[in-house]
């Protein structure tokens, strides 16, 4: 058997429970193959448990492992790194637990925090940088703002952040709550630590406006539509101050 065909056969046998051919894989191949099959499945479940410790804690061993096995069947790993394997687990959970949306949202939050943790190192723009920019004659209206690569946002409709925090603090988590109004969350890295924050409606709209590259003037113009020019500039300034303090701005140009 050619090497490529043998490797394909080996992989197929790991993914299903067919009996291996002893002419190819040697004596006692069924028992010996079982070691590789068992290791493969255990590795994926362990990986998801490590990535989603709080989700695991929230739903318990049995439900988590069932979900992990389902995810492994539907999503065999393809990346060279197991660090990527948790991608999409929140989608699997959303499918398996449609009546408990906090489960998928909790998993999304954990995954976003992990990605932020290992995101590209960037030097955040500080308030001093902005003051220097203005002092040098920079036009804030035309100033382009870019956010750090670690920033990601999502709408949430449950108290997943409260559950996350309670588990992190080793407190009894609160019962799940489904909000009547969708909220927005942002996750990013500050220093070496990932953070999350529930955004108010104004900040969520501002972040959506600023997605990609936009100027501070663009932001104020968007806010102006609802609040008037003077209030918009004040709100824009407040948001910018908060973003700078959170180390959320990576570029000012």
């Amino acid at each position: 058997m050619k090497l490529a065909a043998l490797q394909q056969e080996f992989c197929d046998l790991i993914l299903d429970d067919a009996a291996p051919d002893e002419a190819i894989f040697g004596t006692d191949a069924e028992t010996r193959f079982g070691i590789y099959r068992s290791a493969y499945r255990s590795r994926l479940i362990d990986c998801l448990r490590n990535c989603f410790e709080k989700t695991w804690s929230w739903i318990g061993d049995e439900a988590f492992d069932t979900a992990a096995r389902q995810h492994a069947i539907l999503n065999p790993p393809s990346s060279w790194t197991l660090d990527d394997y948790g991608m999409g687990f929140d989608v699997t959970l959303a499918t398996l637990f449609p009546d408990d949306p906090e489960i998928a949202e909790l998993a999304w939050l954990e995954w976003a925090m992990q990605n932020a943790f290992a995101s590209v190192d960037q030097n955040p723009v500080t308030l001093t940088d902005v003051q220097a920019y203005i002092a040098e004659g920079g036009d804030m209206d035309a100033a382009g703002l870019t956010f750090v690569n670690s920033l990601c946002t999502a709408p949430i409709r449950t108290n997943c952040t409260e559950i996350w925090q309670a588990i992190a603090d080793q407190r009894t988590p609160p019962p799940s709550v489904i909000y009547e109004i969708t909220q927005h969350i942002r996750v990013w890295r500050k220093g070496f630590s990932p953070h999350f924050r529930i955004c108010n409606a104004g900040e969520a709209e501002a972040l959506a406006t600023m997605a990609g590259e936009a100027t501070f003037g663009t932001l104020c113009a968007a806010l102006d539509n609802s609040a008037g020019r003077e209030a918009a500039i004040e709100t824009g300034g407040t948001l910018l101050g908060m973003w700078l303090g959170d180390e959320l701005v990576a570029g000012l140009s």
């Binding site: 090497l3 490797q7 790991i14 190819i24 493969y40 790993p77 060279w80 197991l82 290992a118």
Partner: protein, 279 residues
């Protein structure tokens, strides 16, 4: 392209996150540490900064698990590029991986799967090693994995394969003495035949680890102390390979650092006088 790896004798440990603080704040009595490359092949963040701080205090060897050097569909260029970036940043003693493959056709088992020791596999492995070494601009070390399946169509023994691989590809060897013992037990070969078949001038590092017992086979779990037969095998290996770095490799059930340092002292006691004097 550098074509050789300077000789380095010493005694070290695999660096695990449970012990980061010890290595960063105290003078741990080791000559080097080894890290899992993939744990630091991320875009940024605290792990890389921790590794750089450790590197400022100790020589570091990079040990990978994902190169898949026996893969018939070639090496992953993104992986090689990330490993090159890490190696250039850390300036390690050397870069190692395993003689194995991890998947095919876009599927990755993330396991160290066994190769048939055939001429075709040797051709594929040597071609992949040449490419990896060209990209990394340095020769590599490859480790003998533990295995549970032996292919009846093999043309040669594992040690004959490793020896031919070094000669053809210009690479070096990381001998895992525990893996020799595990595979020898599982496949019925004499570990001393394995040691006798090694090209002594190509062995640069030795791993020592523990294993567990499965149903009629030994399982390479790296989660237990080194057992007596492996110590005895290491004692013989250390007299054959006189310029190697020795390391305790614990991957699971990580004990306090003092336990591993005590185990490293046992390694020093079993090693040849030449090795302990050179360290």
């Amino acid at each position: 392209m550098i074509h050789t790896i300077p000789e380095f004798s010493g005694f070290g440990l695999g660096l695990r996150k449970e012990h980061y603080a010890d290595f960063l704040t105290t003078d741990v009595p080791v000559d080097f540490v080894e890290v899992i490359s993939e744990n630091f092949m991320r875009a940024g963040g605290r792990p890389l900064h921790t590794l750089e701080a450790v590197r400022a205090r100790y020589p570091v060897a990079l040990h990978g698990v994902s190169m898949s050097i026996g893969a018939t569909d070639g090496l992953n260029e993104d992986y090689l590029s990330a490993l090159k970036t890490l190696a250039d940043r850390i300036e390690p003693l050397w870069v190692s991986d395993h003689l194995c493959w991890t998947g095919t056709g876009g599927f990755n088992t993330h396991d160290l799967l066994p190769l048939p020791y055939t001429e075709a596999a040797l051709d594929r492995v040597c071609a992949n090693i040449s490419h990896a070494q060209d990209v990394l601009e340095r020769p590599m070390l490859f480790e003998n994995p533990s295995s549970y399946i032996a292919f009846p169509d093999a043309d040669m023994t594992e040690w004959e394969f490793l020896s031919a691989m070094c000669e053809r590809a210009g690479c070096f060897l990381l001998l895992d003495v525990n893996n020799i013992y595990v595979s020898g037990t599982n496949h019925g070969f004499d570990p001393d035949d394995f040691l006798d078949g090694m090209p002594a001038d190509r062995v640069r590092q030795i791993h020592l680890a523990g294993h567990s017992e499965g149903h009629g086979m030994l399982i390479d779990t790296h989660d237990a102390p080194v057992c007596d037969p492996v110590w005895a095998l290491y004692a013989r290996a250390s007299r054959k390979f006189t310029s190697v770095a020795t390391m305790i490799e614990r991957d699971d059930d990580i004990p306090p650092l003092g336990v591993l340092l005590a185990e490293l002292d046992i390694a020093r006691a079993h090693a040849s006088p030449e090795l302990t004097n050179a360290a």
